[in-house]
Amino acid sequence: MDFLRPQTWPEALARKAERPAAVPIAGGTDVMVEVNFDRRRPEALLDLTRIPELTGWERDERAIRIGANVTYTRVIEELGAELPGLAMASRTVGSPQIRNRGTIAGNLGAASPAGDAHPILLALGASVEAESVRGTRLIPAVEFYVGVKRHSLAPDELIRAVHVPLSPGPQQFSKIGTRNAMVIAVCSFALALDVPARRVGTGIGSAAPTPRRAVAAEDYVSGALPWESRDPIPDGVGARFGELVAQTASPIDDVRGSAAYRRHALAVLARRNLAWAWKEYQCA
């Protein structure tokens, strides 16, 4: 196995173009598990940790551009106020050690349906900045996940950054697991209120082959909420929203939970997240 260690971003892109089978490694918290369990024997590892361009983040009026190597710990500490939903999700990841090494881009690269960053990225309408020697493109999160642990990067592309819109409104994330820490989610759900647009965004995790939005639920609830009056959520709206979210999911039975439970729990999480977010909006 070759270990490639580019020092600059252009060099990394060149290596990846030459050897599309080389597996990028950032925090290594997914890659090394696969290597250690002998599930994967890549012909080459492409170590991205030396590349200065990937370690920062920057802001404009509309979005924060998070470099590929920014860890969960840094999201929590540096971006908690501006990206509360992503910070909430980051806090539930693994353990302190994993949060110190693991990156959002790595979560995207692994594209596990259970990855904790995905639901909120979907709910916020984030996009992935992918780059290759051929150029740069922005892939909306909804188009990024294409199958179980599969994403839409071309073989020569690397993730440069994630663009997360600064959403003017409350955000929530919750997950159910078989324990509190170091757990693969049984199901998870994120929600963001885009107040100026009068829109609710959603993201479902661990309940379908890919993370997905619950579009019908979003359409329904965006229209049903009393945005102007800030009144309490009308009776039945939360429950209906939960049902629509659950209907969007297509979960499976596995050792962590049954499909029936995942659907049920998603409905509860969706209703509760909506209630919490709405309460915050009412008080704002």
């Binding site: 369990f37 078989t178 324990r179 757990v183 939970g257 729990a265």
Partner: protein, 793 residues
């Protein structure tokens, strides 16, 4: 025998002497040890739960780079020995041959089939892929009841049955009580329940590891390093089953990183490493991966419990009938069949009632064998009785604590002969319970519970009770003999005072994290009047500690600690004679106080143990007939068991929508008798409670329909982390045991035994108004939700 001379060390919260080493890892774990010329072994394991082995071809592996040897079971069939079960619980027990390396058939996924020995570990692991095994899959049987059904596939075809044994205790036959059949007709209340103890994996921190240095030529000897709880038993069984002379085998258990019963085992891997080292004539090391540990080291629990409790309308219990089906797995480990028997005498718990019957049937399945896991038998018993006492309370319509009070043995009734035929020497259930209820705020919580019920709060509150007892101090050898166990239950210790007055202690008890070195130093310091730091505790090497029965079943202090007191006293008595000689008086006129011998009435002249040691070393002027040594050895065989007890209470919030549970408060008041080191006791209680909570909420070994272990890593076998555990408020009452001179009872398993029913009782208590009477462990959010859904539908 007066136990304690001085009491400045015993009872003191000393930091543990061994921790600097253990916590930094700068110590001798087996895997850290390298001996000259050492090779590395990897094991090919069966991917089938049941299959005939037609052929094994190791030739390609043997030719691989860096490989020194490759072989399969057939190649060592004559020399590899067998793995012994030391507890044939009945005369007609079915005991299959248990081979380290399978020869003709495999009976669980993970069973060792072939071996590669190479110059480095990676080469050995890589070469495993070159071994070709031709299997004919055979039908699997995983479920205990299915295995007993007519026409079930057989795990051991030649035995003609999957039934291992049926063992019965009947209080009428034993003379310790009446006949359960006799109370059935008059019972005003009859409660039948089935509880299922899921399969668990003892998750020791250090995976198992072994190094075997074979004899170098004729007359040579073998050294075996192993991460084991039982170096002495390992040595004995290696000698007995491989024909190697016992005096030629030295077993060393260096520092061992936890066991929880999982290393109370003689393992296929040890025997295979022994065979491999003999075959290649060089030292061989094997260290398992975590997943290998999970698949092949023994599992625990996996018992179906059918209980029938008989009682009067006022809540007085009149009889209990217990029927168990216990999953043995595919083979019998060292105490596999006996584990349920360790619980057989405990289903009556802290209660007095007139009639009791217990019946256990052991069953073979094509799964990893089960054996001792922290508590071994007693957690199952405690769980069953503490759960069903809550059911009785609900049936009678009184508070679950009240039903317990009406049935428990009152303080003034000790010593008490129980319906299971044991004599509980001491106890004070009232004191522990009162303290625990105050610490929890029991009455306030009941009020809050009522309010939440009233308001239909989606989060309901439950209060869980466990008023447990258990038996420790394993064990009076004659009792073990009567139960057909193969060995005794004594323990040995020796004390050697060096010329400068420093002390070496050798214990037969083999610690693997419990803090023996610290507690033993405290005991000796008091006994001999020497500083705590002047005591060195040696253990785990059969060359220094030639005699012992090792560590399990909370026995170390209650048995090994007493041997140590006895050995210390022998030294002190001898020193008294020498001191008297130096003080020119009769030994009868010498008293031992404040760490020195003094003449009664004239305390200014004194001689310390160190003075005596130097005098012995010089030997210039000893009394006539006194040998020039200040050493002693003692072996203690207990007369009876000791019975720690206590009251564990918890308050749990149950989310009735998602099924999630959160332990809000956990309070335990344990009575483990006299406390040698409160810090160590608290540590044991904390760890024990964590493991008990783990069974209630998190852990389960799950097989798929083909017999593959689905939970073979910590991603899926969900051990709780600190983030999952509540703050544990732990306190104590101290009712000294009268069964041993230190008054100690044992604390290694108490927390685990107590916690599981406390937690599940709380969950069921929260949900009882909905009609829930059980949630299958582990009570995951999904299980809780299902339990609710079933009763609401």
């Amino acid at each position: 025998m007066t136990a304690v001379a001085e009491n400045t060390e015993v009872g003191r919260a000393r930091l543990r002497k061994e921790d600097a080493r253990l916590l930094t890892g700068r110590t001798r774990w087996t895997d850290n040890i390298a001996v000259p010329g050492m090779l590395h072994m990897a094991i090919l394991r069966s991917p089938h739960a049941h299959a005939r082995i037609n052929s094994v071809d190791v030739s390609a592996a043997a030719a691989a780079p860096n490989v020194v040897a490759a072989f399969c079971g057939k190649d060592v069939a004559e020399t590899q020995g067998v793995l012994a079960c030391a507890w044939p619980v009945t005369e007609d027990i079915v005991m299959p041959t248990y081979l380290p390396l399978a020869v003709t058939e495999v009976r669980h996924v993970g069973e060792p089939v072939a071996v590669v020995v190479a110059r480095d570990r990676a080469s050995a692991v890589d070469a495993l892929q070159l071994i070709e095994v031709d299997y004919d899959p055979l039908p699997v049987v995983l479920d205990i009841e299915a295995a007993l059904a007519e026409g079930s596939p057989l795990v051991h075809e030649d035995k003609g049955t999957n039934k291992c044994y049926t063992w019965v205790f009947d209080s009428a036959a034993a003379g310790s009580g009446g006949d359960v059949a006799g109370v059935v007709a008059d019972a005003e209340i009859t409660i039948k329940r089935r509880y299922v103890q899921q399969r668990l994996i003892p998750s020791f921190m250090e995976p198992r590891s072994v190094i075997v240095e074979p004899a170098a030529g004729e007359g040579g000897s073998w050294t075996v390093y192993s991460a084991t709880q039982i170096p002495h038993i390992l040595r004995f069984l290696l000698a007995a089953t491989t024909g190697t002379p016992e005096h030629k085998i030295r077993v060393i258990a260096p520092d061992v990183g936890g066991g929880f019963g999982g290393k109370l085992a003689v393992t296929p891997e040890e025997w295979i490493a022994f065979a491999a080292a003999n075959r290649v004539g060089r030292p061989v090391k094997y260290t398992e991966t975590r997943s290998e540990a999970m698949v092949s080291a023994h599992h625990g629990r996996d018992v179906i419990q059918d209980l029938t409790l008989y009682a009067k309308r006022d809540g007085t219990v009149t009889g209990l009938d217990v029927k168990l089906l216990a999953n043995m797995g595919a083979y019998l480990g060292i105490v596999t069949p006996g584990v349920p028997l360790l619980g057989a005498f405990m289903y009556n718990g802290i209660y007095k009632f007139p009639a009791y019957r217990f019946e256990c049937t052991g069953v073979f399945t094509t799964t990893t064998k089960t054996d001792a896991y922290r508590g071994a038998g007693r957690p199952e018993a405690t769980y069953a009785i503490e759960r069903i006492m809550d059911e009785l309370a609900a049936e009678v319509g009184i508070d679950p604590m009240e039903v317990r009070r009406r049935n428990w043995i009152r303080h003034e009734e000790f010593p008490f002969g129980t319906v299971a035929g044991l004599t509980y020497d001491s106890g004070n259930y009232e004191a522990a319970t009162d303290k625990a209820m105050q610490l929890l705020g029991y009455d306030e919580l009941r009020a809050e519970q009522a309010a939440r019920r009233e308001s239909n709060d989606p989060k309901q509150l439950g209060i869980g009770i466990s008023t447990y007892t258990e038996m420790c101090g394993l064990a009076p050898s004659r009792v073990l003999g009567a139960l057909r166990y193969g060995a005794g239950g004594w323990e040995s210790a020796s004390v050697r005072v060096l010329p400068t007055g420093k002390v070496e202690v050798v214990t037969g008890s083999s610690p693997h994290g419990q803090g023996h070195v610290t507690s033993w130093s405290q005991i000796v310091a008091d006994q001999l009047g020497v500083p705590f730091d002047d005591v060195e505790v040696l253990h785990g090497d059969t060359r220094t500690s030639h005699k012992g029965l090792d560590t399990y079943g909370s026995r170390s202090l209650a048995v090994g600690g007493i041997a140590l007191v006895m050995a210390s006293q022998k030294v002190r008595e001898k020193a008294r004679v020498i001191a008297a000689h130096m003080l020119e008086c009769s030994p009868d006129d010498v008293e031992f106080a404040d760490g020195a011998f003094r003449v009664k009435g004239s305390p200014e002249a004194s001689k310390t143990i160190a003075d005596c040691a130097l005098a012995v070393f010089a030997a210039h002027n000893l009394p006539d007939g006194v040998e020039p040594t200040l050493d002693s050895e003692a072996t203690f065989d207990p007369e009876g068991f000791s019975f720690p007890h206590g009251t564990h209470l918890c308050a749990i919030e149950v989310d009735t929508e998602t099924g999630e549970v959160a332990i809000r408060q956990y309070v335990c008041v344990d009575d483990v008798g006299r406390v040698v080191n409160p810090l160590i006791v608290e540590g044991q209680v904390h760890g024990g409670v964590a493991q008990g909570i783990a069974q209630a909420l998190y852990e389960e070994a799950v097989y798929d329909a083909e017999g593959n272990l689905l939970t073979s890593s910590f991603a899926d076998y969900t051990l709780p982390s600190s983030a999952d555990l509540p703050d544990i408020v732990s306190d104590r009452t101290e009712t000294p045991a009268t069964s041993n001179p230190l008054g100690v009872k044992g604390v290694g398993e108490a927390g685990t035994i107590a916690a599981t029913p406390a937690v599940v009782n709380a969950i069921v208590d929260a949900l009882r108004p909905f009609g829930v009477i059980d949630v299958q462990m582990p009570c995951t959010p999904e299980r809780v939700w299902r339990a609710l859904k079933e009763v609401i539908a």
